[in-house]
C-alpha cells in the first residue's frame, strides 16, 4: 500500500511544491519579505530535479531572467512582495505582449512603499491588473489556505502555459507563513498542461493562431525556428509593425484569449448563498475570517452568505451579477481601503447596495467586526 505524502507546510513552501508538481524547472528572483521562503525552497529543490535557480541582482532582473528562461521552453517562476511587484510591472507588460508563459507569485504585505514588511495586506489587487502601462490581459488567483496555495500554483502554471500569458498568484503574508497539513497529490493525480509547440518541419508563424488553437504555438529558442520576439507591437510573423490596424488586431486577440475563456479560468467558492439576504464577498485569507462571520451571523438568525472569488482576474462577473440580482446588500471585506469593491460596484451597478469593510494597518480582519458591519448595514 502506498502511503500518502502528508506534510506540515507553510503556504510559501506549498507554493514551491506546487510549482515543482507543475513542472517548474527555473526560478529567478530577489529576496523580499514575506516571500523569501519561496526562493529558498526553490534553491534547495530545483538542482535536485535538474532545474536551475538563480538569485538575480534586483526584482526587475528576477522577472526578466524568468521570461528569458521561459523562451527556451522551460517552465519558470519568480516570487516577490508588493514593492517587488511594483518593480516588475514593466516586464509583466512585456510578458503579456510577447505572450510568454510565466508565474509571478506576490505574497502581499502592507504598503505603500516599504510599508509593513512583515504584516499581511491585500493591497495589490488593482496593481496586479492595472499596474503595467497600456491594456493587456491578466490572470490572477488568490488562495486562502496552504493546500489551495499548492493547487493554485499548479493552476497558475497550467493557465500560463495554456493561454501564453503571465499569471499572478496573489497570496498574502498570512497564507504565505501559516502552517497547515497538506496531502501532496501523487504524480498524475492533477492535470498538468504544457504549452503547445509547433510540429517539426511545419511552416511556423510565431504569432499566428492556427485553427482550433487559442494561442499561437510556442517554439522554444534553439529548436530551429529562429524567430523574433519583441515588446513592440508585432504582426503574426513576430516582427515590429506600426500599423494601427495590426495593433488593434493583435490586442483584440490578446484580450479575447482571456475574455472568451472566462468560464475556463474563473473559479470561486461559496457558502450558504441559497437563502442569503446579505452576501459577503471576500478572498484570500480575509475570506477565512468571513467564513467565521457568516456562521456567527447565522447563529444570530441573520441570513448571511459568502462568495469567495478564487480567480481574482478575470472577475467572476456572471456569478457576482447573479448574486446582486438575488440580494439587496453586498459587503466586500478585504485588507485594503477599497480595491476589489470597485470591481464589485462596476459589476453590480444599481442591482444591490455595495458596502465595504477594509483596513490597511497590517492587522487581519476579525470575525466580530465583520458581524458588526453586517448588523450596521442591514
Amino acid at each position: 500500500m502506498t502511503q500518502k505524502k502528508v506534510k506540515l507546510l507553510q503556504g510559501n513552501e506549498a507554493c514551491v511544491e506546487g510549482a515543482l508538481y507543475a513542472g517548474m524547472k527555473f526560478y529567478s528572483g530577489y529576496p523580499i519579505t514575506p516571500s523569501t521562503e519561496i526562493a529558498e525552497e526553490s534553491a534547495v529543490k530545483l538542482p535536485k530535479v535538474g532545474g536551475r535557480f538563480i538569485q538575480m541582482e534586483d526584482e526587475i532582473a528576477g522577472i526578466a531572467a524568468a521570461i528569458g528562461a521561459s523562451l527556451t521552453g522551460t517552465k519558470s517562476m519568480t516570487a516577490t512582495s508588493g514593492p517587488g511587484l511594483s518593480l516588475k510591472l514593466e516586464n509583466i507588460g512585456y510578458a503579456a505582449i510577447a505572450e510568454i508563459p510565466l508565474v509571478i507569485v506576490n505574497v502581499q504585505r502592507g504598503g505603500p512603499s516599504t510599508g509593513l514588511p512583515t504584516a499581511p495586506a491585500q493591497g495589490d489587487i488593482m496593481q496586479a491588473k492595472w499596474g503595467s502601462h497600456g491594456d493587456f490581459p491578466m490572470i490572477a488567483l488568490s488562495p486562502q489556505s496552504v493546500r489551495e496555495t499548492f493547487d493554485l500554483t499548479v493552476r497558475a502554471f497550467n493557465l500560463a502555459e495554456k493561454y501564453r500569458t503571465p499569471v499572478i498568484l496573489l497570496t498574502d503574508e498570512v497564507v504565505g507563513h501559516m502552517r497547515e497539513k497538506i496531502e501532496i497529490p501523487e504524480p498524475g493525480e492533477m492535470e498538468i498542461f504544457d504549452r503547445i509547440v509547433p510540429e517539426p518541419g511545419s511552416q511556423y508563424m510565431p504569432y499566428g493562431v492556427e485553427e482550433g488553437d487559442i494561442v499561437p504555438k510556442m517554439a522554444p529558442f534553439g529548436a530551429g525556428y529562429r524567430y523574433h520576439v519583441t515588446g513592440l507591437f508585432h504582426d503574426e510573423t513576430g516582427f515590429p509593425s506600426n500599423s494601427a490596424d495590426n495593433a488593434k488586431f493583435m490586442l483584440d486577440r490578446m484580450m479575447s484569449k482571456i475574455s472568451d475563456n472566462v468560464e475556463d479560468i474563473v473559479e470561486y467558492d461559496d457558502l450558504m448563498l441559497e437563502d442569503a439576504e446579505i452576501v459577503i464577498i471576500s478572498y484570500g485569507s480575509s475570506a477565512r475570517t468571513c467564513r467565521a462571520s457568516v456562521k456567527q451571523l447565522r447563529e444570530k438568525g441573520i441570513k448571511a452568505g459568502l462568495f469567495r472569488p478564487i480567480t481574482i482576474w478575470p472577475s467572476p462577473e456572471k456569478q457576482i451579477k447573479e448574486i446582486a440580482q438575488k440580494v439587496d446588500k453586498i459587503l466586500v471585506a478585504e485588507m485594503n481601503l477599497g480595491q476589489y469593491v470597485h470591481e464589485v460596484e462596476r459589476i453590480v451597478k444599481s442591482d444591490a447596495e455595495v458596502h465595504h469593510i477594509g483596513r490597511a494597518n497590517g492587522e487581519v480582519l476579525r470575525p466580530g467586526e465583520i458581524v458588526s458591519k453586517v448588523m450596521e448595514v442591514l
Partner: protein
C-alpha cells in the same frame, strides 16, 4: 559587402534598417556576422538579445533566435536564456545608455557571475533613439540636448568597468577598425565566460551635429586618428598619447570557472539526493 554574409546571416526582407546614413552601427553588426561565420556557429543555437535603443534594433535584422527586450534589461533576459539552456550561444547587443545607465546593475552583476554571455556595446556616446541626450559615456564638456551648456558628468569607461566587475574577457575597438573588431568579437564569443567588446560607434545625426564633429567620414577618421592599440601605446610617450584613446584587448582570463558550468556541476553533485 560580402553577399554570402548577407544571405547567410541577415533577414534581408527586414532591410533597409532604421539607422541614419553614416551611422556606425551597421559596421558593428556586420563584424558580428563575420565573427559568427568565422566560428562556424550553428545559427539555430545562437540567441541574440538586445534592450532598447538604436543598437538594440540590430537583432531584428539578424537570422538567429532574436529577443528584443525592455530598456536596460537585455543582460537579465539573456541570463535566463543562458542559464535555462546553456547549449545556446547567447550574445547581447546593447548601447551605452542601455548597458551602463538603465542597465548598469545587470552589466556589473553579469560580469561578476562570469556567465558565458558575449556583450557587444555599440557605444555612440549619446541617446540616439530619443534624439541626442547625454549618456554615461558622453565626454565632459560635450553637448547633448539635455546638456545644452556642456556636459558636467564624468563618463564611464565601459570596458574597464566590466573588467573590474569580473568580466573575464574585455576589449575595445571602433567602427573604423572593422577587421580587428570582428576578431575581438570572435574571441569574445569563443571565450567561456562573460566577455564584453566595447565597440565605439558614430552618431553623425545627433552627437556629431550637436558637437560640430563634421561628416560621417570625418567622424570615422577621428576614430582612426585618435584610437591607439594598447600594445602600440606601451611604446609611446605621454606626449604622444595626449588626447588619444586606448583600444585593444584589455583582459583575457581563462582560468575562472563559468557560471552555468558551475551550476551544471552542482546538479551532477546532487543527483539522487533527496
Amino acid at each position: 559587402m560580402n553577399s554570402s554574409l548577407v544571405e547567410g546571416y541577415f533577414r534581408q526582407d527586414k532591410m533597409p534598417h532604421i539607422w541614419c546614413p553614416g551611422c556606425g552601427h551597421g559596421i558593428i553588426m556586420r563584424a558580428l556576422a563575420v565573427a559568427i561565420d568565422n566560428l562556424g556557429l550553428d545559427k539555430d543555437k545562437v540567441c541574440i538579445v538586445s534592450g532598447i535603443g538604436c543598437s538594440s534594433r540590430a537583432p531584428g535584422y539578424m537570422d538567429f533566435n532574436t529577443l528584443h527586450t525592455t530598456h536596460g534589461r537585455a543582460l537579465a533576459f539573456a541570463t535566463g536564456v543562458k542559464h535555462a539552456n546553456p547549449e545556446l550561444e547567447v550574445i547581447v547587443i546593447t548601447g551605452d545608455g542601455d548597458a551602463s545607465a538603465i542597465g548598469g546593475n545587470h552589466l556589473i552583476h553579469s560580469a561578476r557571475r562570469n556567465i558565458n554571455i558575449t556583450t557587444i556595446v555599440f557605444n555612440n556616446s549619446i541617446y540616439g533613439m530619443t534624439g541626442g541626450q547625454y549618456s554615461p559615456t558622453t565626454p565632459e564638456n560635450e553637448l547633448g540636448t539635455t546638456a545644452p551648456h556642456g556636459n558636467i558628468d564624468n563618463s564611464f569607461d565601459i570596458a574597464m568597468l566590466a573588467g573590474a566587475a569580473g568580466a573575464t574577457y574585455t576589449a575595445r575597438t571602433t567602427a573604423y577598425h572593422a577587421k580587428p573588431m570582428a576578431k575581438f568579437i570572435e574571441k569574445a564569443i569563443a571565450h567561456n565566460g562573460f566577455a564584453l567588446v566595447e565597440a565605439i560607434s558614430t552618431c553623425p545625426t545627433y552627437y556629431g551635429r550637436k558637437n560640430k564633429k563634421g561628416s560621417a567620414v570625418q567622424m570615422l577618421n577621428y576614430l582612426k586618428d585618435s584610437f591607439v592599440d594598447i600594445k602600440a601605446a606601451e611604446r609611446m610617450t605621454e606626449e604622444q598619447l595626449a588626447g588619444k584613446h586606448i583600444m585593444g584587448e584589455f583582459k583575457n582570463v581563462t582560468d575562472q570557472a563559468e557560471y552555468t558550468d558551475k551550476y551544471t556541476a552542482l546538479i551532477e553533485r546532487l543527483k539522487g539526493a533527496k
